[in-house]
């Protein structure tokens, strides 16, 4: 968050620098089954973001110390490829990635029926190949499709998207400049069928009205994103049988 409120981010007609309306999503394309050796996988192209998620499992929970008698554990890794950003990221331990992995795991654990596979684990591997704001949302969305593709039982899919505010106007699905120069970032993980939340973070400064508007934008976009996820799975499994 830069608080660079003076940078002009909106056009005269109210559209954003990339031509979108304030309540418009970036272009999203999803394909399931893109990692042939994995049990399930998905690729999400979201604006310039490219995320690939793969799922392995359920499998024996190694090391023993993470194994739980009563349920499965989700072993989630989120990683950004060194070339995914303008200034190369050195490979290795990264605190931000570790944190995102953890909150992603918490979100997914809220929907995966963990009690069906006691003493085992499910690996979720999220790789961000190209980044352009909102990578944690793109990663969580990709992971959700990958889990479904792997046949893991869940009570709902997880749709993740972020909204914020630039030049006093609340906007849906921040791009890179909007994330850098805007006033706030509100990413959410939403269950499209129940409207419940499994993931919530916020940075910046939002008035109560703006907060509500950003919240509503995310909730409204969830349906559209969900449809794209469903279409990706239907494309792979041939529709009806």
């Amino acid at each position: 968050m830069g608080g660079y409120g003076d940078v002009q981010m909106l056009n005269e007609d109210g559209t954003r620098m990339d031509g979108r309306r304030p309540d418009e999503l970036r272009k999203i394309e999803i394909e399931a089954g893109v990692v042939p050796v994995a049990d399930g996988s998905a690729r999400v192209q979201w604006g310039t973001n490219l995320a690939i998620a793969a799922v392995y499992g359920p499998m024996e929970a190694h090391p023993r110390k993470i194994s739980r008698q009563d349920r499965c554990v989700l072993d989630v890794r989120y990683n950004m490829a060194p070339f995914s950003v303008t200034d190369r990221i050195r490979p290795g331990f990264n605190r931000r990635s570790r944190e995102i992995g953890k909150v992603t795991a918490n979100a997914l654990e809220s929907v995966v029926q963990l009690e069906l596979y006691p003493r085992s684990k499910i690996r979720v591997e999220i790789e961000i190949m190209c980044a352009e704001a909102g990578t944690r949302c793109v990663g969580l969305t990709a992971a959700s499709v990958a889990l479904a593709d792997a046949g893991i039982p869940m009570t709902d899919m997880v749709v993740s998207v972020a909204s914020g505010r630039v030049n006093g106007v609340v906007v849906l699905d921040l791009n890179k400049e909007e994330d850098n120069y805007g006033d706030a970032d509100l990413p959410m993980g939403i269950l499209p069928n129940s409207g419940e939340l499994v993931f919530l973070q916020m940075d910046g400064d939002l008035s109560p009205e703006d907060f509500q508007e950003a919240w509503d934008y995310n909730m409204g976009a969830a349906k559209e994103i969900h449809e794209i996820m469903v279409a990706a799975l239907a494309a792979r499994y041939g529709g009806d049988a």
């Binding site: 359920p58 029926q113 596979y117 006691p118 869940m154 009570t155 499994y237 041939g238 049988a241």
Partner: protein, 222 residues
């Protein structure tokens, strides 16, 4: 959105299947807030008022009596740990091995990497299985090859009254044993094995399609 007109459609986790009404929740279906929802990716089925999902993928869960092809992953002095392809390993106690084994001699008898044909003896409430090698035909496999097919497609491999499996065996001139855990042992000459594997490959790719039988016959006739 609640009658059998939906049967056969693809559902994804979280999809609403309508109000509960008179129906029951079967495999892959959950009751929530007065309605039924799908929890698995798969195709909707309805039978005798029970709504269920035929999943596109299933992890193998062992059941007593299942014939399985396992790999020895480790051992102690009186027990082997067998990878059965499920969420976790099964155990084979010394007392249930095929012949007589001396205490501490488990490694000589069957080392890590050995392939065994065994049967599930019992399963505890946590899906942990005990397997046995005492029984007809159960043994360590010393030759041949093991291919894998997802467990939910095994019925396609076997076919109605075992016809599909019979056709594959005849065309390839191979011995084949289908493990319930999705592992299939094949023994024959190199070209026969490859033919059998090609047939299995077709089933892996297109097993959910209704024309699978003719596709496999196409491969076998070549």
């Amino acid at each position: 959105m609640s009658d059998s007109g939906d049967v056969g459609r693809l559902v994804i986790p979280g999809d609403s299947l309508g109000e509960i009404g008179e129906r029951r929740a079967g495999h892959g279906v959950l009751r929530r807030n007065g309605e039924l929802i799908a929890t698995r990716l798969g195709h909707l089925r309805e039978k005798d008022g029970e709504l269920s999902v035929n999943p596109v993928h299933t992890a193998y869960t062992p059941r007593p009596g299942d014939l399985i092809v396992g790999y020895v992953e480790g051992m102690r002095s009186n027990i082997w740990f067998i990878d059965i392809g499920g969420p976790f390993n099964a155990i084979l106690p010394m007392s249930l091995a095929a012949g007589k084994v001396d205490f501490g001699a488990t490694r000589e008898y069957m080392d890590v990497g050995s392939t065994v044909l065994c049967r599930v003896q019992e399963v505890d409430e946590n899906h942990g299985a005990v397997v046995t090698m005492k029984g007809m035909g159960l043994r360590k496999l010393n030759s041949g090859f093991v291919d894998t097919v997802p467990s939910h497609l095994l019925s396609r491999v076997v076919g109605v009254d075992g016809q599909m499996l019979k056709s594959i065996k005849e065309a390839s001139d191979c011995r084949m044993v289908v493990g319930q855990n999705g592992r299939i042992w094949i023994e024959g000459d190199a070209s026969g094995t490859r033919l059998a594997r090609s047939a299995l490959s077709v089933i892996r790719e297109a097993g959910h399609r209704p024309d699978i039988e003719s596709r496999v016959r196409g491969i076998l006739d070549e």
